[in-house]
């Protein structure tokens, strides 16, 4: 909808470098030439907003390290107590978070590999290959993003139970293993990042399509594949609606386990917070390591999507 064609990433980066050199001398990814320096007020406001962004997470650690009684008292605790490891252990055993973590890794991992692979193949076809109805098919692909997942879950639930697949991980994996967003994302990237001459050269050498994909497309697409992989992993890890319908407590993903912690009839808040902390930790670590790439991916997908 906001398909605003941009200058190629390379050109943008070099423009940014120029800006950076005349400015502070550091390389910046800035498209706008004239950039105003932030005043002290900007930093103050941003600090407050940044604090609001991370405060609930920090406080999760505080709450997870206290007892249920202490959490019900006023004023609420503001600093960590001594019960963190006891609570983590209780949360771990109470809703089988160990199984849940392993399941989530399998589910999110498979979905990520599938989405990245299929999106790259389809994105390449839409970006660089000529075939009948390609434009119509691309529009259809984008159109499917409008369809809410609620519309499929009743039949999926019925079929999966008929197949005897209820509570098995493939129930959660299969419907999510391809992505319209991913296909479009890869297409937009490959249109610019993959020179057609490179494909032609490989063709002239007699390379089959699969060889072209393996030796030309995948290397060229690698940066976008990494970003799409990160975005997909975050989404798959956090997926909620279908997993809590399709899976039960015997074979949960992390979100299903957290849901049963939250709706448990004996709510021990500090244990619930310990569970929430454990369920978020893998993604927070991923964020510390790859935050820059995830930010870049969202911004790139935003302009081109």
């Amino acid at each position: 909808m906001t398909t605003r064609e941009l200058t190629p990433p390379q050109a943008q980066a070099s423009a940014a470098e120029k800006v950076g050199r005349t400015g502070s001398g550091r390389r910046r990814l800035m498209g706008a030439g004239k950039q105003l320096h932030a005043g002290p007020l900007t930093y103050v406001v941003l600090s407050v907003l940044a604090f609001i962004s991370v405060a609930p997470l920090l406080w999760t650690v505080v709450a997870a390290s206290r007892t249920n009684q202490r959490l019900a008292e006023t004023p609420p605790p503001l600093w960590v107590g001594g019960n963190l490891f006891k609570n983590l252990e209780t949360a771990w055993t109470e809703v089988s978070l160990g199984t849940a973590m392993l399941n989530s890794v399998i589910v999110a991992g498979t979905i990520t590999v599938g989405t990245v692979l299929f999106s790259t193949l389809a994105g390449f076809a839409f970006a660089k290959l000529r075939f009948k109805f390609s434009n119509v098919l691309l529009l259809l692909t984008i159109g499917t993003m409008m369809i809410p997942p609620q519309l499929a879950i009743v039949p999926l639930y019925l079929w999966m139970s008929e197949l005897g697949w209820s509570n098995q991980l493939q129930t959660v994996i299969l419907p999510t293993v391809v992505s319209a967003f991913g296909t479009f994302f890869m297409r937009q990237y490959l249109v610019q990042a993959l020179p057609s001459e490179l494909i032609e050269a490989a063709r002239v050498d007699g390379a089959s399509s699969l060889r072209v994909v393996w030796h030309v497309v995948f290397p060229a697409a690698r940066p976008a594949m990494a970003v799409l992989g990160l975005l997909t992993f975050v989404m798959a890890w956090n997926d909620f609606l279908w997993p809590i319908i399709a899976l039960n407590q015997q074979n949960p993903t992390v979100q299903v386990a957290l849901n049963s912690l939250g709706t448990g009839y004996i709510p021990d808040q500090s244990v619930i917070m310990a569970g929430a902390l454990l369920g978020t930790l893998p993604l927070l670590i991923a964020f510390l390591l790859f935050g820059k790439q995830i930010v870049g991916g969202i911004m790139q997908g935003a302009i081109k999507g």
Binding site: M1, T2, R4, G31, A32, K34, H37, A38, T42, L46, S53, V54, P56, W59, T60, A63, T74, P76, S119, A125, F126, L129, F131, L137, M146, P148, Q150, A152, V154, P155, L156, V178, A180, T183, V204, D205, G206, S208, S209, W237, F240, L241, V254, L258, G262, T263, Q269, I272, M273, A276, T280, L283, F287, I294, V295, I298, M299, A302, I303, G305
Partner: protein, 342 residues
């Protein structure tokens, strides 16, 4: 005939290439890798078949999976919505026509859920997008450690619905909750966030706002950085101050992006499910004991999997889809209007 001609034509460029420039070319120049005429035509036929079929093969996985797990179920949902399908008796599916829809339209809970979805959607989307533009504007300044600021603003996005909601439940609790405790410093009496309509809807919305504002801010930031600098230069030559530049350059240039985020957020708001479910704890699927924040998504889950009427749940799903289509149509109309007025 044609195929062998093509094979010849194809081999020509590689024969022309200087021997040794490419390993493949070198081999061909020596004649070792060159296929003899007979198999060559077979090969070129294979090659042409490959050229024709491979685009379809590459896009096939998406369409096969989407067809099997998206499109076919979508149609079946329509079919089930015209049947009586009970969770505890799946083999007995009887045709009931539009009964499920009639039942829906005469149910107070449906209208309540529709109204809640609308209200929560509004109070979570509008402030969220406005704040996101503000944050994007701040992030667009030349900042020290600009990447760090962006990553920090996006952290809530990494938190799952479940984890985020569980934390907010505790923050909003009636006694001992952080938010009521902070409010008492500014002289506000404790608010019952879980059992008052306004309070609970505000609380649920705040979870949505917290998780998605940073994400939208980055989308706006990307669009802001694509605005040509000379627009700002000419505006400042015309004597426009910072605020006027923001109003008369930034906002109009962002219009397509704003519309895009409005559409995406509207789709998200129509499907709102996890936040109210977990916010309600034991009575989650009802949206609290007084149905204060039961959204359409929750209503569908409640009717389908708690009460066990899957036929009615299907009817709710299709009603949600129709509402989305109407919203999309309205958006399209507004976009057209805006384009014309420009």
């Amino acid at each position: 005939m044609t195929s062998s001609k093509q094979a010849l034509a194809r081999s020509a460029p590689s024969a022309d290439a200087a021997p040794g420039s490419q390993p493949g070319a070198a081999r061909r120049a020596h004649g070792r890798g060159t296929p003899p005429p007979g198999p060559g035509s077979w090969r070129s036929r294979l090659y042409r078949w490959d050229m024709k079929a491979s685009p379809y093969a590459f896009i096939a996985p998406f369409f096969i999976f989407f067809g099997a797990f998206g499109l076919v179920p979508l149609l079946y949902t329509a079919w089930y919505s015209l049947h009586n399908v009970q969770l505890n008796n799946l083999d007995q599916q009887t045709w009931v026509g539009l009964d499920n829809y009639q039942n829906l339209l005469s149910s107070d809970f449906f209208w309540n859920a529709l109204q809640n979805t609308f209200t929560i959607g509004l109070i979570s989307t509008v402030p969220q997008l406005m704040m996101a533009i503000g944050i994007a504007h701040l992030l667009n300044y030349k900042l020290r450690g600009s990447t760090i600021w962006r990553v920090v603003m996006l952290t809530p996005y990494a938190t799952s619905v479940a984890a985020a909601t569980l934390v907010f439940v505790l923050l909003y609790s009636w006694d001992g909750g952080m938010i009521n405790w902070l409010l008492h410093f500014v002289g506000v009496d404790p608010i019952n966030w879980r059992e008052s309509t306004w309070g609970s809807q505000f609380a649920v919305s705040s979870i949505v706002i917290w998780r998605w504002t940073g994400y939208n801010a980055l989308i706006y930031l990307a669009a802001m950085q694509a605005i040509p600098a000379d627009l700002y230069e000419s505006a400042s030559l015309d004597g426009a101050g910072r605020w006027q530049q923001f109003r008369h350059v930034t906002i109009p240039m962002l219009r397509p992006t704003i519309l895009f985020t409005v559409v995406v957020s509207t789709i998200g708001a129509t499907q709102l499910f996890g936040e109210p479910l977990l916010f309600g704890g034991v009575s989650g699927s009802k949206g609290g004991s007084g149905h204060d924040y039961q959204t359409l998504g929750l209503y569908m889950y409640d009717q389908g999997w708690i009460i066990g009427n899957l036929g009615k749940a299907s009817a709710i799903a299709w009603t949600m889809f129709l509402i989305l289509l109407i919203v999309a149509a309205i958006n399209l109309l507004i976009t057209r209007r805006l384009r014309k007025s420009q």
